[in-house]
């Protein structure tokens, strides 16, 4: 039986770790935490079920499934925001105030770690794109301007990923700046819910660039009921006048519009990060965010006919 040994020491580090190593270590721990969180997988399950319910039934109108695709990540966006808010809320607990690693580095570690759920969104988006390709594409429009083989453009496919980045930034701001986790959770719920489910509120050409979840095609009125659809350019996708529409409308799908929207979302992401991160990083983020948001909006308005 051996005696208790007291007095053995682990030699202390003589040199501090590099900031990059600190961020990497923090990010690894955070990403593990995110990926092990049941919340993330509840979000994946809800988004999956939402996708199944939406894609399994025939289009209510021409282009309904194409239009609904971007909102399928809605539950995931909410859970990512809530999870990241939880991560940043730990910054408020004060346990690491005296740590040699400052808040800026800790926040960077948390943000890099939050890229793990963003990667999950990217993988699911890629899987969705492959599924659409395997189906031979989705329907948009009605005769005589119709396609049965619409595929998402790359900027459209990037939208869920950029939205996930925005969700990270929004969660970081809520977690860092609100005292109670419950308040941040409820505000994120109340904030994301209409953005996702009231997407149709942003479909007119005047406001669609300002939307958060942008759905295409954008419906643009092009002629009265009496118009002859064969007079419209053959490349246009069209919808007929009907119960909800008293005119012929062009179904406008544009990769450039989606690209502008992605830039707008990146701008918003920078602005929310400016709220979340320590004061000295704010000017750069505010400047960059404003520039990107304005540029994204300008591009979108320039593209929409």
């Amino acid at each position: 039986m051996s005696a208790t040994m007291i007095g053995e020491r682990t030699p202390a580090r003589t040199r501090p770790a590099s900031p990059r190593a600190v961020v990497a270590a923090l990010a690894t721990a955070e990403s593990r935490r995110h990926l092990r969180s049941p919340l993330l997988w509840v979000g994946v399950a809800l988004s999956g079920a939402f996708a199944w319910v939406t894609m399994d039934q025939p289009d209510d109108w021409a282009g309904a499934r194409y239009q609904a695709a971007p909102i399928l990540v809605g539950p995931l966006l909410l859970v990512i925001s809530i999870a990241v808010a939880g991560s940043f809320h730990r910054e408020r607990l004060g346990v690491s105030e005296e740590a040699p690693v400052g808040e800026a580095l800790r926040s960077t570690g948390r943000l890099v770690g939050a890229l793990a759920p963003v990667a999950v969104v990217a993988v699911l988006t890629a899987a969705g794109a492959i599924w659409v390709r395997q189906q031979g594409g989705l329907d948009i429009g009605e005769e005589p301007g119709r396609t049965l083989h619409a595929q998402f453009t790359l900027p459209e496919l990037l939208q869920p990923v950029v939205l996930a980045l925005l969700a990270v930034a929004v969660g970081a701001a809520a977690g860092r700046r609100l005292r109670h986790r419950a308040t941040s959770t409820l505000l994120l719920f109340v904030g994301w819910f209409p953005v996702v489910l009231v997407y149709w509120g942003f479909q007119s050409r005047q406001v669609i660039p300002l939307s958060i979840v942008q759905t295409q095609p954008v419906s643009l009125p092009v002629g009265p009921i009496s118009a002859n659809p064969l007079d419209f350019p053959a490349s246009w996708l069209l919808t007929q006048p009907g119960e909800y529409q008293d005119h012929w409308a062009r179904q406008f799908v544009s990769g450039l519009l989606a690209a502008g929207h992605d830039v707008w979302l990146l701008g918003l992401t920078c602005l929310f990060l400016a709220v979340a991160l320590p004061r000295h990083r704010r000017p750069v983020l505010l400047g960059l965010g404003t520039l990107l948001a304005a540029g994204g909006l300008a591009l979108q308005y320039a593209v929409i006919p």
Partner: protein
């Protein structure tokens, strides 16, 4: 099954038979028998020994999985009797959270209301009395968020002392207190024990020696020892020795401030046996049971 009787001959305030509580597969308290009368009873044991779980059951906060429990002559499993027990009980949980925007006076008064004391004047007087008793007379109108950790602990203790309860259940009451405050706490609890039973958990054997009439040592939900502090000290009688070198045959060894090695176990021939302390008794007990070295 282990039986502990910590009675001073007066009526027993706590009687426990076959008490068991599990969290999943882990048994926090394992078929424990216990009888306690008036006086101060100290509960010693390493972290995870089951002390807090036992105290929570004795405070009627947690229901046991099996076993019978009688507190102040009532059965806490019966709602009406539990209510009656709670009227005569004071409980201090481990590191309790408080409302930061309250003052100690407001918090203790609130607890008094919830203890069904509806006479405002009595409540005010009693709240002032217990806050004074815990040494917070000059801080009773300051916001709790401005108080130190030790002061907050004393606010919670004051709430437990309200109305001179017949049974006081205190989970590590001395946490965060400085030596002077510990001394005051001892005096306070000794006074309470004259009127009823005080059950407290602690990691501090000095506390036990100075305050408790009886001591119970727990480990993995079972009782390793029950008796007086002197009996706990005697567990190590003739089994403590000091040398200038470390002895690999000792059950436990550590270097003292004087630079000599203090050993517990079976002393080798010719070793100079030292006078045991309660610490020695406790550590030897834990080591004998296969506890941490």
């Amino acid at each position: 099954m282990s039986t502990v009787t910590a009675s001073t001959g007066l009526a027993r305030t706590v009687e426990v038979t076959g008490l068991t509580k599990s969290y999943g597969a882990r048994r926090a308290v394992d078929a424990l028998d216990l009888a306690v009368g008036p006086g101060v009873v100290g509960l010693l044991g390493p972290n995870g020994a089951g002390k807090t779980t036992l105290l929570r059951m004795l405070a009627t906060v947690l229901a046991p999985d099996t076993g019978t429990l009688s507190l102040l002559g009532g059965d806490p499993a019966v709602p009406s009797q539990r209510l009656e027990i709670r009227r005569r009980l004071g409980y201090l949980p481990q590191s309790p959270s408080l409302y930061p925007s309250f003052t100690p006076m407001e918090l203790v008064d609130y607890v008094a209301v919830l203890k069904e004391h509806t006479d405002r004047d009595w409540r005010r007087r009693e709240a002032a009395r217990v806050l004074e008793a815990v040494g917070l007379a000059d801080r009773m109108h300051q916001k709790i968020k401005t108080l130190s950790g030790g002061m907050r602990q004393r606010v919670a203790l004051a709430a437990a002392l309200l109305g001179d309860p017949e049974l006081l259940v205190l989970d590590e009451p001395a946490t965060g207190l400085d030596p002077e405050q510990r001394l005051e706490l001892r005096a306070l609890l000794s006074a309470s024990a004259r009127r009823g039973t005080v059950l407290l958990s602690t990691h501090n054997t000095t506390e036990v020696a100075a305050l408790c009439q009886r001591v119970i040592v727990m480990r993995t939900g079972r009782v390793l020892f029950h008796g007086t502090p002197a009996e706990l000290r005697d567990v190590a009688a003739g089994r403590v020795w000091e040398e200038t070198e470390q002895d690999a045959g000792a059950r436990r060894s550590w270097m003292t401030a004087e630079g000599t090695w203090r050993h517990l176990g079976d002393p080798p021939a010719g070793a100079t046996v030292a006078a045991p302390t309660i610490d020695d008794g406790y550590l030897l007990l834990a080591a004998t049971d296969g506890g941490p070295r």
